[in-house]
């Protein structure tokens, strides 16, 4: 399966989230959250509105103030970092779209190539 390089695991500080474009002109970023050895990745697309909309309020500002949840800073939806499930806010009951990460021996992360075209869903 074709894949795209995204970043190195050390590009993401411990306990933080960052957004990366899988291709320079991809319509959506991929959010990667790092906690200890664990990495979780989701499309930067809040499920509140059709097509999904970007969630940070500033570049890489994806977490809530306490750093306990992924947050959509459009209307304050909070998402469980482990599962991507919305736990409060407008998209209650929906989930972020998880992205499968592959890590090579040197710690470089890549994602399936199709995530760069994910916004084909967008209308």
């Amino acid at each position: 399966m074709a894949s795209l390089p995204l970043c190195h695991r050390d590009d993401i500080p411990e306990g933080a989230a960052r957004g990366f474009l899988p291709l320079p002109d991809a319509p959506r970023r991929v959010i990667v959250v790092r906690r200890g050895t664990r990495l979780d990745a989701y499309m930067d697309a809040c499920p509140h509105y059709t097509g999904g909309t970007p969630m940070a309020w500033r570049r890489d500002a994806y977490l809530n103030g306490e750093g306990t949840h992924l947050a959509c800073h459009a209307h304050g939806a909070l998402f469980d970092i482990d599962t991507g499930a919305c736990v409060s806010g407008p998209c209650l009951g929906r989930k972020l779209t998880r992205v499968a990460l592959t890590e090579d021996q040197a710690g470089y992360l890549s994602v399936p190539a199709h995530v760069a075209g994910r916004a084909a869903r967008e209308e």
């Binding site: 970007p54 969630m55 309020w57 500033r58 570049r59 800073h73 209307h75 304050g76 806010g89």
Partner: protein, 315 residues
Amino acid sequence: MRIIGPDYLVFGVDDLEGSRTYLQDFGLKPVQLDATGWLYEALDGTGVVIRHRDDPKLPPALQTKNMLRQQVFGVEDAATIDAIEAEMSRDRRVTRLADGAIEFQDVLGFELRFQVTRRRTLNMPAEKINAPGAPAQRAPNELGVTDDVPALPRSLSHVVLFVPDIDKMVEFYTRRLGFVITDILTGAGPFLRPAANDDHHTHFFIRTPAYMQGCEHLAFHMGGPTELMVAGDRFTRKGYQSFWGPGRHKFGSNWFWYFNSPLGVHFEYDADMDKHDDAWVAREAPNGPEASQVFLLQWREKWAPGGGPEGGAKG
């Protein structure tokens, strides 16, 4: 009732430092209110008040996690405050504050405060344009745009609320507070303006489930479309996230550009909104992309044609 519109919107935030940076970068001026609170004001003194969400000085939060804590309305005179107090005291508790303002909850539990407006009268020109067939608005040698245009928010324009019961809200704001419906997006809700404000809207209500009740966005008036574009472009370059726009709305005719914020609502730059009087008859259109805008654009990096074919000239 001579209500003008929101003087301030009060928020209880979880990221105070981030919010302060955001509001300043948006173009608002910080005024420290006390040890724990700040007003970020537009040129006419209207604006956004923020405190940490655990600050006891804040009015109580909504049941939802929405960070809006209070809408502070400006009215023309003390007689209007008295009239609102008399009307509201019929069926709810009204608190009279030492400075003469009053506080109460609306029909869905949004916290409101009414005060004689503190906004300053602005005296500055609108963006001027030249067009064939019309007298030139700019004098000879007066430039239309320069790199250093200030492009600062002039005045708090409107607030949009997610409301679980539109009918109750409309009844309350029109019958009890004298707001007028200017247009309706069917499926979403009505645009409203108070009696002492001729802007197309200071409020727009969107029908939602109860777990979403709160503020959807707030907007500041800019001096014109160019100022809106310049402010939005600068804000984007600082790393802030555009959500919708730039574009131009149909109802209200205002230019718009929305951004995500750490206050959990959108902040909008708007410009050139329609004015109405009581002769206006409200229109109605089904909510959706067609009714929402005349056109929609998207920001991109600066670019210019030039540089020749890739790899240099051939032959």
